[in-house]
Symmetry: C2
Subunit: 614 residues, 2 copies
């Protein structure tokens, strides 16, 4: 018999909106309970008893009321006032049906430093709570005046030594200070009252600011939460797994989506636990071994333009879809579908990455896992002789197809055009696909690709592009057969933004970019014009072989290197409203994406658009 | 004879866009020169010589090329490479016509710690520069590995002891570390090669992040730049005053506006110098003593609604404009103009704060100062018998009128309606006006009110509102006769935002909010319903007199207190699309705006709108 599923909860502070919005979102995403953040109650027209009823009606319990701040005091009169304040809050909790309140370590100047006196005050509060059937979960804030580590909070709880006083462990407060969760084993299980989970990016900043503005859902940041949670469970914690994420973006984003994102983060976390599989196992993520195709949506204006550029890049139009206006273009193992079914009278020139084809070791299992993790499954019309394709929607709306490329697979949907493949330009396969994410879903997307598709997250990089800072994060498959780069401006774009809105691109791999560039120039491909100043700077900075430097200058290539190798790349002008194509060559062990060259590429593409009046 | 005007420059990194956008903006705002940031050159299709010509054609010089990073090295071979790199950059500078290059203290692990060896390397570079007629301005980055204070950079420059090596002083690097500019006096004037000016808000964060993302133009932050600049000038610095502001918002905002903002910041700074008036004196800011009126733009739908609420608040429609569809409503010294000239077929229900009337000791001089500081002056149609009103546009488009209220002033434009004023509801005058700023112009607005109108800036506060974080900053006149609050969401609003977009309000002062609330309730005014939970929390937190607490409960008032006093306030529901009215009572020395209650007020207003289906 498998153990009962662990309860899952989410703090209302994770979600945007009024309390009603938040309860609706938490319930829809399948949470069992909430942490009720006090400001959400104060702003609500529902009395505490009505909140309890509203929660119950949605299948939710109030697992924690929070927070109670600055309880302890060196000033006896103030401590007495704080106890009176607590009694008021105990009344509220009783009406809410919440039995546990979070008490944070004091950040006030009058906070008590002496652990025995502090324990005495906590015990006094705990006695009052216990008599009413309530519990005090004491938490060390990482910036607490005297208590700022979980060990210090445990020391106080131990000294207080009353049944109604226990610990609240918060992954942020522990891990942001480099705390060691292995020590949890020394805490008796019955003293582990509550667990708050949050991830965070690796940032060098004041810990309070980091905590209040930049927390993330588990799996989105850089904390080792599977290990953390493993230690908490090993110590015997049996309460809910509860998310507490303060994040500026989520505070203003659609709470329905954020709650699904949060639920997915807990599913991912439980699956990643070092212990054996939990009670709610997910279908394992099949290996994704490569890009089978990239599908571009085009219209009557952009379609011929993109087709022309594909031809200039050495692609051949080899297939025509049996039932849809979709062309297959191929060169070696690089495949592009041009889907001309976009009919947007208002958007002449629309071109977008509509779909990714990802080669899966087990497409049906990939789809089953996606469903289990709350990804929207797309309905798919299918003709008589056509292969079944499982597709889901990524957070930015891009369709993700799980494919097996072969005679029985998706290529069978295409009738051969009979066009003989030319010699090509050396493009071997898709290296990566770059997708600008909607502002609100950058972190959601990272978790989506990590949890749903089983890809690995790379570090976030930030570049100063001509029209504002841009953040980029790569996700990769095993052996780098699949690579995606997700980008987002650090501020949502406003009125001044002459750059291309939300650009997308497909990058193809070549083994010899110089030879490819010669072929592209002969074919007249519309490349973004990299300026001579760029090559002059390369010459000043690096000791490039003279012939390579000459080729960089002659063909307007871009080059980046690091300790592991180098990266040569070029980009076309923007095709349609937002798509361009890249060709890249990886030298040695280089594993990046030439992100540092983004400003040069963007400026070049803008010049090209301005020149052609686009 | 007055001294020659000081040259003013701006670093290209302050402005968004490509190099051409930046040069256009700097020239249009009247700058004399630029600091050319290397990435802007590398991304440009113009050769260095062409950049020089483009600058000259716009009346700009290249006053600094920047930056040259990580010159010094404990690795001789690397230092030799760095010198070769420098020679390349010297070629670029010669073509640019730039004679000074910024060399930053090293942040690399191989940076030289020994000041004599470091000075030797700097002298070697300086010798090469000097032979080509170029200069090295050495700057201590606040996070430099070994050189992180201006004193340390001066020590190295002194030891290097070559004519072509001098100092670059940067206000951020000095003041962010609490450095003392009084010491500049010890530096010989001929060693002060360059001056970079930036302000910054008081933030607790990693200094590198603070510097790279949050710098501001002088007058927008909390550094004492007049004192800083005074010390630099006293030490004999004669070069340009040059802005170097790394700021995430400006990086993506309209560069034309940002450049005007930057120019205004230098005008403000020069005027604020402790020494006597400079060579380009501005008309002094006349005292602004109060709000003469608030003008609301309404349409056929919102006009009657707003008029009805004004009547419920105790206002009387006392005057009608001679030539325009504008009503004057009065109560004691509180005056509201309702301007029904808004005709927006697409926007039924539009209501907005169109104009502020500010009582000036000298309206023509207020207008002259505004013009001198680059504020747009508004054309104003005037009827035969009407008073002349000088008006300018604030950054958010609100009109600002400089008035003298009296028989000869603007009230003469209104013909009496003959309506007898009722007893009113105790509203005495406008306390403050709250304006949500466009996302890109929050800091621009602060400087506008400070520099153009001569108001004082208060601290920035941040609250977690239901639909995202909101930043608020007050500006005040002498004796607090004028008060404005400027607000902005910390992230530009996106698709999920059921709150009121860019709310605006007018707050009226009463001496007895409880009595006013009784009158408002009797009149049936549509107040935002503050929930009982809010009053319960007040009872738990504070020792309020029982009768006051009872009144707070009964009338749904809000209350905030600090060490100086208290603040009672209430708000109406939202009228039209974005305007509401407040009534406030100040107790003791309270000088705030009840900002902490914003989430409760917003949630209440949303409930009211949802309930009425708006």
């Amino acid at each position: 018999m498998s153990p009962a599923p662990r309860r899952r909860a989410i703090a209302t502070v994770c979600l945007s909106g009024t309390l009603e919005d938040k309860l609706d979102a938490a319930a829809a995403a399948g949470f069992d309970g909430i942490e009720l953040f006090e400001p959400d109650l104060l702003a609500s027209a529902w009395s505490p008893a009505e909140v309890a009823a509203q929660c119950a009606g949605r299948g939710l319990t109030v697992d924690l009321y929070q927070p109670f701040r600055d309880l302890d005091s060196t000033d006896d009169e103030r401590f007495a006032r704080n106890l009176r304040r607590a009694e008021h809050k105990f009344d509220v909790m009783t009406a809410l049906g919440a039995d546990t309140v979070l008490v944070c370590s004091s950040v006030a100047p009058d906070g008590v430093a002496d652990p025995d006196r502090l324990a005495e005050q906590l015990a006094e509060l705990g006695g009052r709570a216990g008599r009413r059937g309530l519990r005090i979960a004491y938490e060390a804030l990482a910036w607490g005046t005297h208590v700022s580590t979980w060990e210090a909070s445990w020391d106080v709880v131990r000294r207080a030594d009353v049944p109604a006083v226990g610990l609240c462990l918060d992954s942020f407060h522990v891990l942001s200070r480099g705390g060691d969760p292995a020590g949890f084993a020394a805490v008796p299980a019955e003293k582990l009252f509550f667990l708050q989970l949050a991830d965070a990016p690796a940032l060098h900043m004041d810990v309070l600011q980091w905590s209040r503005h930049h927390r993330l859902f588990p799996g989105q940041g850089s904390f080792d939460l599977p290990s953390f949670l493993g230690h908490v469970l090993l110590a015997g914690y049996a309460g809910p797994l509860s998310l507490e994420v303060f994040n500026d973006v989520y505070r203003q984003a659609d709470p329905m989506r954020a709650a699904v994102d949060g639920m997915r983060s807990l599913q991912w976390l439980e699956e990643a636990l070092p212990a054996a599989a939990g009670p709610r196992p997910l279908p394992q993520a099949p290996e994704l071994t490569g890009h089978s195709f990239a599908e571009l949506a085009v219209d009557g204006v952009s379609g011929p333009q993109v087709a022309g550029v594909l031809a200039q890049l050495g692609f051949t139009h080899t297939g025509q879809h049996r039932s849809k206006p979709v062309q297959l273009w191929e060169q070696d193992a690089a495949r592009v579908l041009l889907n001309a079914s976009v009919v947007r009278p208002d958007g002449a020139g629309v071109a977008a990455v509509a779909a990714l084809g990802l080669e899966s070791a087990d497409p049906p299992r990939s789809a089953a896992r996606s469903i289990a993790l709350g990804a929207p499954v797309l309905p798919r019309a299918r003709g008589a002789a056509e292969a079944e394709l499982s597709a889901i929607a990524a957070p930015d709306g891009t369709q993700v197809f799980f494919t097996r490329t072969g005679p029985e697979g998706w290529p069978a949907d295409f009738l051969p055009t009979g066009n003989a493949a030319g010699s090509g330009a050396g493009l071997r396969r898709i290296d990566h696909i770059g997708l600008t994410q909607p502002f609100d879903s950058f972190d959601e997307a990272a978790l989506f690709y990590r949890a749903v598709l089983g890809l690995e997250l790379r570090d976030v990089t930030e570049v100063a592009a001509p029209f504002g800072l841009v953040r980029t994060r790569a996700v990769t498959g095993s052996h780098r057969g699949v690579r995606l780069t997700l980008s987002v401006p650090t501020l949502r774009r406003g009125g001044w933004s002459p750059g291309v809105p939300a650009p997308q691109y497909v990058a193809f791999l070549t083994d010899d970019l110089v030879a490819t560039a010669v072929a592209l120039r002969e074919a007249g491909a519309p490349l973004a014009p990299v300026p001579a100043n760029y090559a002059d700077d390369l010459e000043a900075r690096l000791d490039l072989p003279p012939d390579l430097l000459a080729a960089v200058r002659e063909h307007g290539l871009m080059y980046e290197e690091d300790a592991t190798g180098g990266y040569l790349h070029l980009a076309t002008q923007v095709l349609g409203d937002r798509v361009f194509l890249e060709v890249v060559q990886r030298i040695g062990g280089y594993d990046g994406y030439g992100t540092g060259d983004t400003p040069v590429r963007m400026a070049a593409q803008r010049r090209a658009r301005t020149a052609t009046g686009v």
